[in-house]
């Protein structure tokens, strides 16, 4: 399958959700949807054959927004496996919650949990919200992956 062709196909599928579809040659297709529509968009992508998620990346733009990126691709259809479809959604900075995609892609179980743990994003409907994954159980404070969590660095001088 050609890149442009697939991009067109996806665009057609998710246009009515208010999605912006763009692409990065040769194989990355970006689908940006509002957070209310993210489950629906994910379902349509899954039904197209994008059957698993490789990575869930949450990015923190301080005082502006959070961006959550689901990097999905296909195992069952090896023609699609070459392509990566990034399903993106923006979350307001003061209310970082979004519906969990666990129902659509069970493969996000640990990935969403991790982003919850380290970035403080709440995935509604995920059964393990509020539990710690990588951090110690008694950790309190700023989620460490947020930009306001500062890591001390040393200079080059002793």
């Amino acid at each position: 399958m050609k890149f442009e062709e697939l991009k067109g196909l996806i665009e057609e599928k998710v246009r009515d959700l208010g999605a912006e579809v763009s692409g990065k040659e040769p194989n990355v297709i970006e689908v940006k949807v509002p957070r209310e529509k993210v489950v629906e968009a994910a379902m349509r992508l899954r039904d197209m054959g994008f059957d698993h998620v490789k990575a869930v990346t949450a990015v923190d733009y301080p005082n502006e927004r959070f961006e959550v990126v689901y990097v999905s691709s296909s195992y069952s259809n090896l023609d699609l496996a070459y392509f990566l479809v990034n399903l993106r959604t923006d979350l307001p900075y003061d209310d970082p919650r979004m519906p969990s995609l666990l129902e659509v892609w069970p493969s996000v179980l640990y990935q969403e949990h991790e982003e919850h743990d380290l970035m403080g994003i709440v995935f509604e409907g995920h059964p393990r919200m509020g539990e710690r994954l990588l951090l110690p159980e008694n950790y309190e404070g700023i989620p460490p992956l947020r930009k306001e969590f500062k890591v001390k660095t040393e200079g080059i001088n002793a």
Binding site: D51, L118, P136
Partner: protein
């Protein structure tokens, strides 16, 4: 007696001979596992956060550390993502050298996994053999890169060192040695009726579940999904090499081991091709080669060891996003880098195969026996530090 009282909660690890650096919380009823939850994070080292304060080149050793047995995969994936942002390509010889190291690493990573699996089901010989036979491969890698495991060999634009003198002969000897040894592995371990009894039909992962759960690497291929990044999105020198994607249909613990064994055989094939086809030429991108001072450039040509251009110390990467994926020994490694044009990534997401496979602990252990826990654990080639990152 109510059902709750029948259940015994057993905490396997982190201080347990076969748990690795993690805790498995098992609820067992008699000898049957009712539920098992992996409790990961014991060796979490916050690679993603540290990457935000380290410079691009400094991240190379950082991303290698979590998966010590399979460092090349992480190194290569990270550098590929950075190269995508930089918009540079390594020269062909460097691509072949990357492939060579990746395959050497794949073999010894598989040996590592099979060895640990062996001792988990009680075969100390499988463990010792695998770890012993890893040694010649590590010796090869050491000669090529200067280090046993943490190679840091692949840098943006190329690789750090050229083939040493007489390396081809040594590789060929080791490959022959591995081929000579394989029948004994089969006789003593893989075909041992006790091994078969312990692994066949244990921890069966169906094709649908493997896809649904987004499993990676040999565990996926053992369930009959012929997904291999080397074929799906070929990188390095793989487009020019001839090899097969190994799959098994059974999806049980034994199939997962067999995929690894057959991948070792494929890797031997690949390594031979690499050494036959490797082109002459530089091993670092021209752009960086030109930045090396002239007197040092001469030295580089003589010794075959790259000197870094000064720009490497504070490498600036154009703003943008890049995703790179590589088929490492344990499976698909993903790096998602968001750059804002500064000297450190704005956000680096590192998804390792072990992290994607951790979901299998919950899925595969329902209703198995207590003794099957290590048999399944080992068959996943799961490495806790790699999952925790």
């Amino acid at each position: 007696m109510s059902l709750e009282e029948r259940e015994l909660e057993v905490l396997i690890g982190p201080q347990h001979p076969a748990s690795g650096h993690m805790r498995l919380v098992a609820k067992i009823d008699g000898d049957v596992v009712v539920e098992l939850r992996p409790n990961i994070g014991y060796v979490h080292r916050s690679v993603e956060k540290l990457a935000e304060v380290k410079k691009y080149l400094q991240i190379i050793p950082l991303v290698e550390r979590p998966s010590l047995a399979d460092t090349t995969a992480n190194n290569l994936t990270y550098v590929m993502a950075v190269e995508k942002l930089l918009g540079i390509e390594p020269p062909p010889r460097a691509q072949y050298l990357r492939t060579l190291l990746a395959e050497i690493n794949r073999i010894h990573s598989h040996f590592y996994g099979m060895g640990i699996h062996g001792v988990m089901i009680g075969s100390s010989t499988a463990y010792m053999w695998c770890f012993g036979d890893r040694e010649p491969l590590i010796e090869l890698a050491q000669e090529l890169t200067g280090a046993r495991l943490t190679y840091s060999y692949i840098v943006p634009g190329g690789v750090r060192r050229d083939l040493p003198q007489g390396f081809e002969d040594k590789v060929e000897k080791v490959m022959r040695y591995l081929e000579n040894r394989m029948p004994d592995y089969f006789d003593l371990y893989f075909n041992n009726p006790v091994t078969r009894a312990r692994l066949e039909g244990v921890g069966v992962l169906s094709r649908e579940d493997a896809i649904r759960l987004g499993v990676a690497g040999p565990n996926l291929r053992a369930s009959g999904v012929p997904y291999d990044v080397r074929k799906v999105e070929p990188y390095a020198a793989y487009p020019e090499l001839d090899f097969e994607v190994v799959t098994e249909e059974a999806g049980d613990a034994f199939a997962r081991v067999m995929v690894r064994v057959r991948e070792i055989q494929e890797s031997i094939k690949i390594i031979r091709q690499v050494l036959k086809k490797i082109p002459d030429g530089p091993i670092l991108n021209e752009k960086y080669m030109k930045m090396i001072p002239p007197n040092l450039r001469k030295q580089v040509e003589e010794t075959g060891r790259i000197k870094f251009p000064g720009v490497f110390a504070n490498l600036r990467v154009p703003a943008g996003e890049a995703i790179a994926r590589v088929e490492g020994g344990r499976g698909e490694v993903i790096f998602h880098i968001v750059s804002d044009g500064k000297m450190s990534p704005y956000r680096m997401r590192m998804v390792t195969p072990s992290f994607r496979n951790v979901i299998l602990f919950e899925h595969l252990t329902r209703g198995v026996r207590v003794a099957d826990i290590p048999a399944i654990y080992g068959s996943l080639d799961y490495f806790p530090p790699e999952a925790d990152r």
